[in-house]
Amino acid sequence: MKAGAPCPYRAVTFRLVPVPVITATGLTKRYGELVAVAGIDLEVAPGESFGLLGPNGAGKSTTMRMIGAVSTRTSGDLQVLGLDPDTHGPEIRSQLGVVPQEDNLDTELRVRDNLIVYGRYFGIPRAECGRRADELLAFAQLEEKSKAKVDDLSGGMKRRLTIARALVNNPRVLMLDEPTTGLDPQARHVLWDRLFRLKERGTTLVLTTHYMDEAEQLCDRLVVVDEGRIMAEGSPASLIREHSSREVVELRFGSRRNEAAAERLEGLGDRVETLPDRVLVYAGDGEAVLEQVARLGLHPTTSLVRRSSLEDVFLRLTGRSLIE
């Protein structure tokens, strides 16, 4: 180096901002005339638990498939683990764990063999697959079912096995498409507990759901998706703060009288929303609204004051319920 020349290292600044594991810009997927994903932007940081919340057909699964490098995008930019899925599909897939919406376990293999064989698909040596299979069976609380046939497992067990299978390659990102859809409440809670443990260990989770309670439990940050577009983005709490009031009063007057009652409620709280089966009044103080309702001489058959949820956010943003 010549004397007096500027030190080349001086220009280097250390950035503590983590490099995102997933970056999408204007991500679009069209199937002929149908636009499944209509240009979405998102970024997921390592260790983050990121959710896509939206009704069926919103484009969540298609987005997941594009990130999972099994579906090519029509346009836009996508980087997964710093790689472009269009050119580095296998490299990306080798570092992802995928839990699809429908279980696709290998029903011709026993429970433990499902894990071992799946590990072999990644080129992991057989002995190592066996070791990881035992570890994962313990994690999924399926040790007693090691030799069982997949078809003999309950829905919740199959789901846990699918998650265990997705972890066999020590993925940097775990992708879960509707992880608890179709499970009974108890099985859902067991599953949430397992996923929460993964989150605590620092696994990056990307999940889709149409259950607001699931999103609230598991996601640090989420996007609300409808008709292939992102309607809002933020943490569950900030989304509720931004797009809804603190409390909601749910009033039921009977399906034929809701409409008429809603007209008289107009002006109460921040906003009144009429659904086929009930009237919602959004307000900072729900109890105060209830008193006003009584003073108006209205007598709902049932009334309930609750905290705002992501369901309300979704209703506000799209005018529709999440689960229809």
Binding site: V70, L83, S94, D106, D113
Partner: protein, 273 residues
Amino acid sequence: MTATTTSEPTRTGGVRALYSGNAGAVLGRGLLAARSSTWVVVVSGFFEPVFFLLAMGVGLGTYIGDVALPSGREIPYAAYIAPALLAVSAMNGAVYDSTWNVFFKMHFGKLYQAMMATSLGPLDVALGEIGYALLRGVVYATGFLTVMQLMGLNLSWTAILTLPAVLLIAFGFASLGMAVTSYMSTFQQMDWINFVLLPMFLFSATFFPLSVYPEPLQWLIQALPLWHGVELIRGLTTGELDGATAVHVGYYAALVAIGVVVTTRRLRALFLD
């Protein structure tokens, strides 16, 4: 930063996206899954051509006596049809797995969808599955070859070469079977496969020579794969080899290549859209 181009990972699309060099894991999965299959069904597939050999070759053969090869040489009827049935047993084993079993895995087991979410590529899956299907054909054929040897129906030392030949025939049918199955979406369409296989089995110079047909029909049969397999094997077990043998081998090599390419492309189109 100005030097980003050098630090960017190199493009590894193209073939890498198709193949991760791990077809063995797919084949291994097939072998492990075979443990749970119904063995009676698997074994019955081996006996089918054996029963044909006993009924037609030994039973009916006593009334037919000897038949003349194109060279003029006379051989017992059983020795005439046995090599054809050997080709059929290689075909049966390979086709059974590469059609119905693949159909179920594709549409109900969602097995390929699961495989494609890993680092496996469509070529790994195609080669692994075709490899597994051809193994079954080879197992059937080896068993049948043993039966032929015991019955004294291998007339020439070249019969030993039927082992690599049945491997090639099974490979051809397994590739073709999986390629065709990848286009099938209903059970009705799958029935068409049986509709094609049965007449091909009966009329591909299996039980009588091609010369009984009018010429256009001869051309049709010579275009179909089983006839090439029958002629190839018959040449090897009787020791009557000529230039046509190379044509038969070439036919199967082409069948393998086309089958693997079509299957790979279809898997990619279906599961990596």
